[in-house]
């Protein structure tokens, strides 16, 4: 199973996310803020527009969730498979050789 220090580190990650939320803020994207800074320059025009944009915030969050879900699926599968493989090796080592 996970080591004790893993639990502490996960708790740390949770705090890092929660503390700003509790302190409050607008929480707009940093990418967008940098883009605003560029757009504020006189005479700026993007040289190209996105080929396709998610039509709404809902569709955007659909693809973001899909991205996270696909990644988590593979990471979880790899962790489970590694664990299963180790268990099988351990059992094989414990079994008296016939």
């Amino acid at each position: 199973m996970m080591s004790k220090r893993s639990y502490w580190m996960l708790l740390g990650v949770v705090l890092i996310v929660l503390i700003p939320l509790i302190r409050g803020g607008e929480f707009g994207g940093a990418d967008g803020q940098a883009a605003d800074l560029v757009e504020a320059r006189e005479g700026f025009a993007p040289i190209f527009e996105p080929i396709w944009e998610p039509p709404s915030g809902e569709i955007e969050s659909l693809f973001f969730s899909l991205q996270a879900a696909l990644g988590a699926l593979i990471v979880g599968y790899a962790i489970g498979r590694a664990r299963g493989r180790r268990q099988a090796l351990d059992e094989a080592a414990r079994r008296p050789s016939a």
Partner: protein
Amino acid sequence: MHIMEGFLPASHALGWTAVSAPFVIAGALRIRTIIRDTPEARMTLAASGAFAFVLSALKIPSVTGSCSHPTGTGLGAIVFGPSVMALMGVIVLLFQALLLAHGGLTTLGANTFSMAVVGPWVAWGVWKLAGRLGLSFAVSVFLAAALGDLATYVTTSVQLALAYPDPASGIAGAALKFGSIFAVTQVPLAIAEGLLTVVVIEALSGKTRDKDRIALLAGGEK
């Protein structure tokens, strides 16, 4: 760290693409070699790419009152060396450019350079240096992943500053201005990414001695 579609002048867009392309090709060749020579490492390789996929989808609030996301490229860089992450990073960036209008095709080269080249190389360099300094496994992984994450955002700031220098304070002034948006927001997220990278490497390598973990994941003998 995503520079939006069309937000770099054509010369910069082409320049960064030319700089990044060899890294991506080298990464693809390296991945092919790993799959051919160490099939045991395939699962870790997939997990390295998937970790970057997850982390770069998570917009996380920061103490600056704005949101940003980690990159997740440190894990693969630590286990396999930095080159493999160049190709993995491009895949993540393409997904986001095409389906999320996040980043873009004209800025793909610049975004690849910051997230998939500089980040992994810094992570790998810090990992090697930390090992030489005798730092513990967990501290080394943490520092490597966190500083790689931060380096990505510093790179984006410099890229934007090169394209849009401040009329009064020049490139350095502009880099500070973009850096104050990106790098400061990124500090807590980089710490979170460092911690998560240690947790996932531990989970993938299971009960084994710290010094054997990376060799185990890279497909070495137990």
